[in-house]
């Protein structure tokens, strides 16, 4: 195995939605700085955008302002968000969307050339090729791209992130990238819990199954402060395909109904907005119907015309083509029968909820030299594509300024060797011992623990102290088992690190769920021992920091700050 040593001013880990925009922004603002993207796949089609997108879900349609957006997101997240972060990202939606449109993204417009709104915050796009479009812009900007290099850890020198280490899944070379400043943009984490489907459909998940929490885990291992992991994302999705429901609910206006045909959201949750209730309630509501024997639950699409059904299919073809094949393969016509829905496996996704790095308004993490953007960054839910772009832009600006002022850190060879040993251990174990556990085995073990004790679908995602303590104890054994993981080839080595990273995420998550003794987000994290929301004690952020030396996870709270006045539980 060889070592490739690279020096760059700015290292961006994860060349996805946030990463590509960050690369362009650095090069435009600081043409003297060298930028390198480290990406586990190929930036042309990696991460969440691989299949395409049909809408930009965070945009200020006519009449809306950053303040009205904050009010809505605050309502949607049950009264607790980092308002400074949400304000700063929404101020950049326009800038980012216009930029990507200029690069070639088709955005649907009316006769007058105005974007076509879908609800208050969405605009429709033909985004099948969105990822190659932004990847091309990143390349054209003069970014050096390391495709198929899986980041495994930061290089931390005296508390400063001075670059990162990764391995190539193509030839097993180790990449040591020394950087003045680093932006982490690896997305969220899927596969921490048992997925909705099994066997040859186990990766038929909503969230990108190749985003496995690497950025979170690297931060956790290095002692970065993390926030709000307990706000898991459990989405309402189309049954079986796990396709997004926004396309249907917002696209054609389809209320949820139970098996009796009752519009339960409209009746039981009228006080918080009915079918427009905060997102966690739109998962909580149907779960209660199913639990109480009134499932299956559907989105009622029976009022739509056959033309609308065609439009719906076209929209899915831009983002989630398997949805359309599913209907054809099961003889389902959404204009004649309602669309059955279900809730997803719990994901950790800072762009839908707000789990991730604790950052300041400049997206600086608590580690010197490290900035975070997109689903990996915490505190700002409702990011979606455009919010991730905005955070990439903000992080780029700040990382660029940091790189102008700071030189490379001195990196000891021992630091690199230590990570080399850790990163390649599963390959060596295979060569030396043959016998051991495969990444897949550990994945299933992890998912079983999380499913059964840390609020998986089987328990309606509910948790209590006693169950969580079992999860904590079972998870505590897994890190000692890492040494038994074997990988036969480089693809398996990648899989090994994916599961190792998810174990770190799971341990942090369990501590967060244990710590917040209230139910703020029913559906996402319902505590059966603390069933109510408690603003007096818990209107604050639950944060954690793992001690890199001892491995102990310390919990702390950070205060909520209201910037935009108004009732925190009202959408306007």
């Amino acid at each position: 195995m060889e070592q490739n040593i690279i020096e760059t001013d700015i290292l961006i880990i994860g060349g996805g939605t946030a990463g590509c925009l960050a690369a362009v922004e650095v090069r435009e603002r600081f043409p003297n700085l060298r930028v390198t993207i480290m990406e586990k796949a190929h930036i042309d089609r990696s991460g969440c955008l691989a299949g395409g997108m049909n809408a930009i879900n965070a945009y200020l349609n006519p009449g809306e302002t950053p303040e009205s957006f904050v009010k809505y997101v605050r309502f949607d997240s049950c009264g607790l968000i980092r308002e400074d972060l949400v304000l700063s990202m929404s101020e950049l939606f326009e800038y980012c969307v216009k930029k990507v449109e200029k690069w070639g993204l088709p955005i649907l417009c009316d006769e007058k050339g105005n974007y076509i709104p879908r609800g208050r915050w969405n605009i429709k796009i033909n985004g099948e090729s969105l990822k190659p479009i932004i990847a091309k812009a990143a390349k054209n900007a003069g970014t050096k791209v390391l495709n198929w290099v899986v980041a495994s850890n930061y290089l931390v020198v005296d508390g400063r992130v001075a670059g990162a280490v990764g391995f190539s899944v193509r030839n097993g070379n180790m990449f040591v990238v020394k950087a003045k400043a680093t932006i982490i943009a690896t997305g969220g984490a899927a596969g921490v819990y048992k997925p909705n489907n099994a066997h040859d459909a186990q990766h038929k998940t909503w969230y990108c199954p190749y985003n496995t929490g690497a950025g979170y885990a690297m931060g956790i291992r290095a002692g970065a402060e993390m926030t709000s992991f307990e706000m898991r994302y459990i989405g309402l999705r189309v049954k079986d395909t796990i396709a997004p429901t926004g396309t249907i609910a917002l696209g054609v206006g389809a209320p949820q109904i139970n098996s009796k045909g009752e519009k339960f959201m409209a009746t039981k949750y009228a006080h918080i907005g009915g079918d427009g209730a905060p997102t966690p309630y739109r998962s909580h509501g149907p779960l209660q119907e199913i639990k109480e024997g009134r499932g299956p639950v559907y989105l009622d699409t029976r009022h739509i015309t056959s033309q609308q059904a065609r439009d719906l299919k076209s929209a899915f073809l831009d983002m989630y083509p398997s949805m359309v094949l599913y209907w054809a393969a099961n003889e389902i016509d959404p204009s004649k029968e309602p669309v059955e829905v279900q809730t997803t496996e719990p994901y950790i996704v800072g762009g839908h909820t707000q789990s991730g790095y604790w950052v300041d308004v400049n997206r600086k993490t608590t580690l010197d030299g490290l900035y975070a953007a997109g689903d990996v960054a915490g505190g700002a839910p409702y990011k979606f594509v455009s919010g991730c772009w905005a955070e990439g832009v903000i992080a780029a600006k700040q990382a660029g300024e940091y790189a102008q002022k700071n030189d490379f850190a001195e990196i000891q060879a021992s630091l690199v060797h230590e990570e080399q040993d850790r990163a390649f251990a599963p390959l060596l174990s295979f060569t030396n011992k043959k016998d051991g556990i495969k990444a897949y085995d550990m994945e299933v073990r992890l998912q079983k623990i999380m499913e059964e004790y840390a609020g998986g679908a089987a328990t309606y995602y509910e948790v209590n102290e006693e169950r969580l303590l079992v999860a904590r104890r079972r998870l505590a054994t897994l890190p000692d088992q890492f040494k038994h993981i074997i990988a036969e080839d480089l693809h398996e080595l990648m899989k090994a690190h994916e599961v190792i990273d998810r174990v770190y995420v799971a341990q942090t998550l369990v501590e967060h769920m244990l710590y917040r003794k209230e139910t703020r987000w029913p559906g996402y994290c319902t505590r059966t021992d603390y069933t109510e929301r408690n603003d007096e004690k818990w209107l604050n952020f639950v944060n954690s920091r793992r001690d890199p030396d001892t491995g102990d996870i310390e919990m702390l709270t950070r205060p909520y700050v209201q910037i935009v006045p108004g009732d925190r539980y009202k959408p306007r």
Partner: protein, 127 residues
Amino acid sequence: MPVIIHADKCNGCHGSNNPPCIRMCPGDLLMKDSKTGKILMRDPAECWDCLPCVKVCPQEAIEFRLSYQLGFHTARLIPHIHDTRDFITWELIDTKGGIDKFTIRTKILPIELDEKVEGVAAVDFSI
């Protein structure tokens, strides 16, 4: 089952070491068989059904299938990229053979049949 590769249609992109289908898979699931020069799927259970590989293949050699647990045989969904690269026509075939077509605007960028990889020699792509 997710995607299947029709070996009779795959021409290996004329000896390409790093053909578009391999490059477009976000899960690193496609690889070249050094003996036949054709493409193999590593593990169908790891597939996300996202379809970039299907859309990018110039020979339409990669076909998308739903896992049988999710949908009945022989429904099919085949994207045809227009020569102008600004439209895709999706051909949807239901279980009874009924055909429907959807033509949608897009912006497909031209793609090279081969590409060098930073820090990696060409031979590293084959198994």
